[in-house]
């Protein structure tokens, strides 16, 4: 399958991920989540929340009791846990390793968290196990990367594209 088509095959949309995480967050804080609470948290209308929740209820991700209080099913909770972990991993990768500002890393991680595959997330976990191991090679790896990063602007000939033009030239600075 072409990669771009995978976006449509994704189990949840960006919006759905935020609805599910809002429920998780509210249940953690208040012990319950109502449509009105989710609407306030996400700064959208109640109508919009209710319409968005309909397919999530049908998919068995969200459960509603007789008081119209919402909670995540086991399946929904597993999905939220996975998305949250992916967000943290991507955020760490962007800010700690690549030097992206924490704010920008959070924004970009939010965009990628629900689209990243479990396989990629598991490789990121393995990578951070190495980084956090405090073994000498991990420290050396980080130090080498940081030293290279500081001086990389001075060597445009070592551009990763290896073609006529440096990749950085095609990506304007913010």
């Amino acid at each position: 399958m072409e990669t771009w088509k995978e976006f449509d095959q994704n189990i949840i949309t960006h919006s759905a991920a935020h609805h599910l995480m809002a429920i998780d967050d509210l249940v953690g804080k208040l012990g319950y989540a109502r449509v009105s609470d989710i609407a306030r948290q996400l700064d959208i209308t109640r109508g919009s929340v209710s319409i968005s929740l309909k397919p999530m209820k049908e998919a068995g991700l969200v459960l509603q009791d007789e008081n119209r209080h919402l909670r995540l099913s086991d399946k929904g909770q597993r999905l939220v846990n996975a998305v949250k972990n992916k967000r943290l991993l991507i955020q760490r990768l962007l800010s700690e390793l690549l030097g992206v500002s924490e704010q920008q890393a959070e924004i970009d991680a939010c965009k990628m968290e629900h689209l990243t595959s479990n396989a990629t997330a598991r490789r990121l976990v393995a990578f951070f196990r190495f980084i956090d191991s405090h073994e000498q090679p991990a420290g050396e790896f980080l130090a080498t990367w940081q030293a290279h990063d500081r001086g990389s602007d001075e060597k445009p000939e070592s551009c990763p594209t290896g073609e006529n033009k440096c990749a950085a030239d095609n990506v304007p600075e913010a």
């Binding site: 919006s15 449509v35 009105s36 700064d43 209308t45 109640r46 109508g47 209710s50 319409i51």
Partner: protein
């Protein structure tokens, strides 16, 4: 600015009314979409209902905007509507309409608790509740199997 009767300040009341304004405008947009998404013979049955509901919802939104202006504020609108390009049966369109109409009704019911003591505002919210209640009842009646 302090509001002498209600528990909320005028600023907070305007904020709450802005939420109701967004509910109504969004509902109107959804009605517009639902009306165009219903296919086949069902159109004959539900088109009029959805069209009337669209116009009534716009009227509700105008009433709220007027109320916000009367408090000395300018209505704020922040909505994000995403309606898929999938055909709908008449029943499904009415089911969706019932979902957001029930939310609008609850929005006014919550607002009523907050503006307790401010008689003119209470009366306004009560009249909106009555209208929304009618909408919900009509939709439920149409959805009876």
């Amino acid at each position: 600015m302090e509001n002498s009767v209600s528990k909320l300040s005028t600023e907070e009341i305007a904020q709450e009314l802005n939420r109701a304004f967004a509910e109504e405008v969004e509902a109107a947009t959804r009605y517009l979409h639902l009306r165009s998404a219903v296919r086949g013979l069902d159109r004959v049955i539900v088109d009029r209902v959805l069209k009337d509901a669209f116009h009534e919802t716009i009227e509700h939104a105008e009433n709220i905007a007027q109320k916000i202006r009367s408090l000395g504020h300018v209505p704020k609108l922040d909505i994000r509507v995403n309606c898929p390009n999938e055909p709908l049966s008449g029943r499904e369109a009415l089911r969706q309409a019932l979902i957001f109409e029930e939310e609008a009704l609850e929005c006014y019911q919550d607002l009523l608790k907050k503006v307790e003591g401010d008689v003119p505002l209470e009366e306004f919210v009560r009249s909106q509740i009555a209208l929304e209640y009618e909408h919900v009842a009509q939709l439920k009646e149409l959805l009876v199997e």
